[in-house]
Symmetry: C2
Subunit: 416 residues, 2 copies
């Protein structure tokens, strides 16, 4: 029984994976690609007596091998529709631990219509979020309350307030703040939403708060419902440390809340370019399941992530149609809404022009230290960030703009 | 503000992490260790105006640096008790993507009493499972129905039946079989449990079926309840592709079902010894949350995983007290029950003596291809496997034992 057919033309019903494979010593890419196709579909390491002819037809097929790059087509019948953990147990599972592979990386996935249809996709997406915020064509400006851990509920709310009236559209909790002894989730939500209302009244702008609901699933849903009840419009969740089962449950609950996806932990498996799963695949899955905003990197900040990689991810989550290119696969997202790209990690006003040049306007520029670290504090830090965005939109250099904007000048002096 | 204190003695209330850190070019291990301690506790990349003196006291402390090995103590107040996703967003989150690190691996975690107490641990554990199965002091023998995907419900049940009457104690679904068009979950459970009862009657032994409930959380719980209602005693779940939120929900549901944990996907982040999170940490978390059985590797089969590594994992999940050794940390598991180690992946009867010599009797020997691939099929394959276990328990060589056991002889001929 062979899992290789280089003449095979994938059908519309196939799920296609693009892998980079380095075989273990003494083995060929072809041999290992075949073992990968077997293990991730209907086969195992030895021939078995319980195999049936009709099951052979369900086998995954290696249909392209170019150097270390391998494409495999999986008949969609193999998978349970709407069950992301199951799909990932197939294409993101055992194959990464096989002795026969030295390194293997799942670089991209092309999803068949049948599977795409079985997930909800984003409820809001870029344009839903823009509508909610009444911001048509500039990047959104956000901040993370800092220090990331340790403020009490009222201190937290006050920092958020300063950020909002300084010019931030959205304020979020950090990835490791949920409900601790020093800062209770429910109390924080109440206090912070109260000041959100005040900030909206004061500025005339819409202001959003994204409380971190990450927890065991039932607790997570309970917290999201609490946010809704208190008049919140957003939740944020650490999608990878919570996991796909919990994320699907949150999305499928239909709470009509914008879901902001933090990717803490992704770099445990995305960073090594020769082994693991790419951030592109994580982004695909997040869009399918239906988050509205996703951290994708900054190119220019404290986190790793090359320019080309971040571009591809932004395209994948924002565009309707992705063209096949080398080992990147085609995708027609159809009616599945685009996801807002969040750039976060080590950003400050000085990096904004370059960031916007690279990433465009459809981004959320999120800065924590780059706002609360401003020499005059959060309020002026938020003002400086908003100035940097305004200057870039007007094509004025920050140096020039800073002449008439003290806050920006002070920020540039600290981080240059 | 410094995150380094090499004179610091961790308190009973600290969570301790053992990291291996390779700094980015031009940076020292010490410098990067400090950045890691900051990012994973209360700090960020720049000094901020919103920091308060009392929060400085909550900072993580680097208290030991030996070459590339670094130990960091985190005051437990940083974490939300009983919230594993939150804890992992701290110690398994952003730090893996920092530009300042070239590679970083979380090798081991020592859990403070306060956090240990906030999780349920295994409901059954090794001795609860042994009691359920009426098997006191031999390894359990299990199989995975193969082909892993494609059999219909009745075919699936029949293969399971053959395995049970041949001598398997437990039969499980494979990691990527959940509820597909060719094999419906509920129907499969009904059919398979029916033949389990028949096999118990025929053999006079207890027989267990582990249906794969991996899915979105609500669906997963629904499936587990269905299993319970049908008289099942076990569920299996792909703990990593489902994720910690969903796993906690399944455990906390209190269904009184044994939980078998498949680790599909672990090697995306555990395999590279210089970057990611170790399988040891995954095993720790699984024991804390409370699975009863966990795949840990085979040393001898188709999956990678060195001897020393698998030993450590077995100790960690089975023992009450783990002694500190080099970069491995101490752990007192107290009343948290031991987890049954499952050895699975490329096993066949010929490998059993070596496996038992390495791993002892407190293991579940699980073979898919090594049973269903027997030249005479599943029934004789299961018999051969059970013979191999019996021979090893009696200290008789397989070659000798095979003289009077045809099934074993044929297995040894195929896989030698």
């Amino acid at each position: 029984m062979s899992y290789i057919d280089l003449k095979y033309k994938p059908s519309k019903d196939d799920l296609i994976c693009s892998f980079r494979i380095e075989p273990a010593k003494g083995l060929s890419v072809k041999k290992v690609a075949e073992a990968v196709a077997a293990e991730s579909s209907v086969g195992t390491w030895t021939n078995i007596k319980t195999m049936k002819p009709r099951i052979r037809k369900m086998a995954a097929k290696v249909f392209e091998i170019k150097g270390n790059w391998v494409k495999i087509a999986y008949p969609s019948v193999l998978f349970e529709s709407g069950n992301m953990p199951e799909i990932m147990s197939s294409i993101g599972g055992n194959i990464f631990g096989m002795r026969a592979v030295k390194n293997i990386r799942l670089e991209d996935v092309e999803w068949p219509e049948k599977i795409k249809k079985s997930f909800k996709g984003p409820k809001f997406g870029i344009y839903g979020v823009r509508k909610l915020l009444h911001v048509k064509d500039r990047p959104l400006v956000g901040t993370i309350v800092k220090p990331k851990i340790g403020l009490n509920e009222r201190e937290h709310a006050k920092v958020a307030y300063q950020a909002w009236i300084g010019g931030c559209d959205i304020v979020k909790d950090d990835e490791n703040l949920t409900s601790q002894s020093f800062n209770n989730f429910e109390k924080r939500v109440v206090e912070t939403l109260k000041l959100r209302d005040k900030a909206e009244n004061k500025t005339g702008e819409r202001k959003m708060y994204m409380p971190n609901v990450t927890a065991e699933t039932r607790e997570m849903i309970k917290r999201a419902k609490f946010v809704k009840k208190q008049g919140g419009e957003y939740v944020m969740v650490d999608i990878l440390t919570a996991g796909w089962s919990g994320l699907q449950t949150l999305r499928d609950e239909g709470l009509n809340l914008v879901i902001h996806a933090h990717r803490a932990g992704h770099a445990t498996f995305t960073r090594n370019k020769r082994h693991g799963i790419s951030m592109l695949v994580v982004a695909d899955i997040a869009r399918l399941i239906g988050v509205d905003q996703l951290h994708i990197g900054t190119v220019v900040g404290k986190m790793e992530g090359g320019k080309e990689e971040v571009y591809h991810i932004e395209d994948e989550i924002e565009k309707r149609f992705i063209r096949e290119k080398g080992h990147y696969l085609e995708e027609d997202w159809g009616k599945i809404k685009p996801v807002f790209a969040v750039c976060s990690g080590g950003l400050h006003p000085g990096l904004v022009p370059k960031l916007m040049k690279i990433m465009g306007k459809n981004i959320i520029i999120q800065a924590g230290g780059g706002i609360h670290g401003h020499p005059k504090g959060t309020l002026l830090g938020a003002m400086a960030m908003r100035h940097a965005v305004d200057a870039s939109l007007k094509n004025i250099s920050l140096k020039e703009y800073a002449k008439s904007h003290n806050e920006l000048r002070e920020a540039l002096k600290k981080w240059s």
